[in-house]
Subunit: 206 residues, 2 copies
């Protein structure tokens, strides 16, 4: 069975410690995408890196702590996109900013977005631990306000879930630039947004 | 720890045996949606029903067997929809049939579709065990052929992943009829399909 945890010692925050922390995060994300969050143990992460479980415990005491470390950088970017979108002047500009920002974020973080969006266990934990529920509601509202009512809400849900699913493995094999462009255009069609004359930064020209 | 498995005995196929088999399937689906497939053990299913693990083993020897029993009825319906869609005369009629059939199936099987579409562990197992990979490719092609090339492929992926995600919990709270109608209309917009004059069977009138 599992190695017993060693008592935690305060590690100096050296470059080496940061590197090894990041290695755990990278391996955790890879295993989460392969086996789902519930199917990944700290022991599996230790085995993958060829270290003891105690070495993992040195940085992360629970899988939930590790999950937070994995998702926090992307949630931070998502919060910034939502904030900036809410600051736009018109309903259409707010939706356009949210859509292009989300497509760009999703494409740049394919593995993580598909874990975030698809893994039920992950969503439940993040809803409890961070402001994910509020953030998702704000996101959906930014797109749904283009067409107030249930039809608009369903279009917003379809676009968000669709982008998160389409960046996942197996469905579409395109490079980031092409995938971003096509997702943004598909999202605009669904929502009824006009393609801006000047491409939004981050959206490649056709 | 777990109870040891009893040797399998051939059970008479009585109504009682079928009922208890169905109870396992119902509870398994509920636990899969709550905890993901990887996060659900046969022991948890036994505990939920107040029976021994041996009683679960009587019907299902592995979680994978139970998963197949859970998804097979819906996969059967999906195959029938794909077959019928491929039999339509035009590209647009094929896409329309696939879209309305999938939206209807997804709405009637919300819990299962979100497990099927979202749980990475489930998808990997089903790809290996059944013809899910082929079925998904046929599904995607039926929608993607409306606009040949990468843009059409991305629109198809967005619609399928979007419908599967939008029927899941938490995003949209609508009754089946309204959700089906709005998903179908959103899908048509994304794909560039005209709303048929006579509603397709299964698609409620606006």
């Amino acid at each position: 069975m599992a190695t017993a945890a060693t008592p935690k010692t305060a590690a100096p925050k050296t470059a080496g410690a940061t590197d090894s922390r990041q290695r755990f995060i990278d391996v955790a994300l890879r295993l989460f995408t392969q086996h789902s969050f519930a199917g990944t143990s700290l022991q599996m992460i230790a085995d993958e890196l060829g270290v003891t479980k105690a070495a993992v415990y040195h940085h992360f005491h629970t899988r939930e702590e590790l999950l937070n470390a994995v998702v926090e950088p992307v949630l931070e970017q998502l919060r910034a996109i939502v904030d900036a979108a809410e600051g736009q002047r018109t309903v259409h500009a707010r939706a356009e900013h949210m859509l292009t920002g989300y497509a760009d974020l999703a494409v740049r973080n394919r593995a993580l977005i598909s874990v975030l969006a698809a893994d039920r266990g992950v969503i439940e934990i993040l809803r409890a631990q961070v402001d994910l529920g509020t953030l998702i509601n704000r996101q959906v509202k930014l797109l749904a306000d283009v067409d107030p009512g249930p039809a608009g809400l369903v279009k917003a849900a379809l676009v968000f879930a669709g982008i998160a699913g389409a960046v996942g493995p197996a469905l579409v094999e395109l490079d980031d630039k092409a995938l971003n462009q096509h997702l943004t255009e598909a999202g605009r069609r669904t929502l009824g947004l006009r393609t801006p004359r000047r491409p939004t930064p981050g959206t490649p020209r056709p």
